[in-house]
Symmetry: C2
């Protein structure tokens, strides 16, 4: 997959596992070569303790923000830069591309050095904790001793929570956005449907497609399911209502009769042009794995591992991570005597508000980091 | 499609359109032969004015209730029968199978008498109003002069509203359950995904599959999407949580890792064995068409046509028909000075509560009919 959204010159690559230091996944599989691509903003101080780690969501990449005025805007542009909430005059910000993704980091479409062929489905299954463990190697290699904050939304927010639970000594503050302490049954259900649609596409071919003949339709429909969960009934009612699709007015027809359908199809096709279907399978499975409790006793026991002050950020209209599940983490932290806080983005725009309605988020992050 | 859930002896068939009296759809297409299957309970009085029309939902059939102790239970068994809310000692209850369905009534899998081949995609597109208009012919043929009530849930509830708007002189009371006055953008979005999944299945073959080689996987995945919308986050959390799927314990795997996935796959496969994929395409499009406003001026103008006392029934946890959309109809009726009422089923079980949690419904229907 070759979709590149940032100039190659600002995208760096680190080898974080090799034959001398292989990466063993949570389930015991071994990766003998792992590269992570990443981008940085600002300068690391000599103590290595002014870093902020930014973690992207399911189909994101390392390009959280522009590096200069010539550069394309990043996916958290309003949040990251000189004088912004994540102030790169002060902090050294790092955003890695997730393991298993398709924007430079090692994933299913990478050539397996042992076979000379792309991994495809021979890539090991990995969890949110694996995503974090491999990032920890990058952070160490960069000479970072302390993360002033770890921040991310959705799948990124799951990783923030695991960072705080797995490496409490390295994380000063945690900001998990639009996420929960464990992924819900309904969330798993939506993911499962997305996987099954990709695998229904005959072009998927048990994962052995060529990059130029990928199961684009399957991935597009999977994305359409995702898009519904990233928005809200309220937003769709306002934005689309029952308006006809201007692009397709013939009647009768099964497709593209209403504006909302045209929009969904457009969004689906857009993702299918930029993302690897096998990466989508693996990364949704990683989301499903998210559970602070796993192997740690109770859910409370998992949350107890988090010692950093934690600012959970929920979105009023989020259907993928309903606010009660976001708040739950803060409430348990408070019961345990930890510094757990909750702030809510009062937006009608659903889950995607963590990317699009960032004024409350920006202000809360700024204040939380200044303390 | 041959799935039969009631003994053929209790299922009747009426020819409601033929060459001498063709049926013209809302969009101007012509059907020169339409049969509707239906079932009845109780006895029509000589005035023909003690009838209650029961209308089923998307994948339902005419078997609303058992006819005797030997018979299989129907989909609204607790509601229909001697001494029940729809008291068949008193009322003549009729439940037709919808036009376009696959349980005996004419639909895409029916042989087109003009070609000798199944209609498949040459079947005309139809709307909720067409479903109602063709039922009106059946009601007339049965000698029914007055419907003491029209009742149904979901797509059935949409038809109840149109019955009351299109034939106000024939409908004494309307009970639309878990439905709204116009289908939402989010609802259309979910339907569109379900259609696209069916059409992605190579077995679909542009609608020209043989009944024994239907696109079962596509229909199963479509149903999985539907099932999520018929349940709720709350129900899934309680019922499945993050429990592993006992049927599939191998790791790693993309499928069937969690209980909720096993359940969804089971439900999908179950529907795929009993329903026609083309019928699913047409009937979801009919749902999309639902809008009391269409061709009548404003939404209020559409609702103004309804003169019968109307009991809207919502479900607290319904995500397909959120309560605010159910209540909206009653609120507008009240503003207009009509007899519009609203009752809510306080169930965590989502949309499907209209089939499964019927004690509140049963009591409300009983009282409303007794008035």
């Amino acid at each position: 997959m070759t979709a590149t959204v940032s100039p190659p010159s600002t995208r760096l690559t680190a080898s974080v596992a090799d034959r001398s230091k292989p990466f063993v996944t949570e389930h015991g599989d071994i990766l003998r070569q792992v590269d992570l691509t990443y981008e940085t903003w600002g300068t690391l101080n000599s103590a290595g303790d002014n870093a902020v780690l930014i973690i992207h969501a399911l189909t994101g990449d390392s390009h959280a923000a522009a590096h200069d005025s010539e550069d394309q805007p990043g996916w958290w542009e309003p949040l990251v830069g000189p004088g912004k909430a994540i102030d790169t005059d002060r902090y050294f910000a790092v955003c890695p591309n997730n393991l298993g993704s398709c924007y430079g980091s090692t994933g299913p479409s990478t050539i397996n050095p042992e076979t000379g062929e792309a991994y495809r489905l021979s890539f090991p299954m990995f969890t949110v904790r694996d995503l974090v463990a491999i990032q920890a190697r990058l952070v160490e290699q960069l000479g970072i001793t302390t993360l002033q904050a770890v921040i991310g939304g959705s799948l990124g927010g799951m990783q923030v929570l695991e960072w705080a639970a797995m490496y409490p000594e390295r994380v000063r503050k945690a900001i998990p956005v639009a996420t929960s302490g464990r992924f819900s049954a309904q969330g798993i259900a939506f993911n499962e449907i997305q996987r099954r649609v990709i695998m229904l596409d005959p072009a998927w071919n048990d994962g052995n497609y060529r990059d130029d003949a990928a199961p684009a339709t399957g991935l597009a429909i999977a994305r359409m399911v995702g898009v519904i969960t990233y928005q809200s009934d309220e937003l769709m009612a306002t934005r689309f209502g029952r308006n006809p699709d201007a692009r397709y007015t013939n009647w009768p027809a099964f497709l593209h009769r209403y504006d909302v359908e045209g929009y969904l199809n457009y969004q689906g096709d857009k993702l299918a042009r930029r993302f690897d279907p096998n990466s989508y399978l693996y990364l949704t499975r990683a989301m499903d794995s998210h559970d602070l409790a796993r192997g740690r006793g109770s859910f409370e026991d998992g949350i107890r591992l988090i010692t950093a002050p934690t600012l959970m950020v929920g979105i009023r209209s989020d259907i993928l991570f309903p606010t009660y599940l976001v708040r739950e983490v803060s409430e348990i932290q408070q019961r345990l005597g930890s510094d757990g806080r909750y702030v809510e983005i009062d937006s009608p725009n659903g889950h995607d508000a963590f990317l699009n309605d960032v004024s409350t988020l920006s202000q809360s992050v700024r204040e939380f980091l200044r303390e």
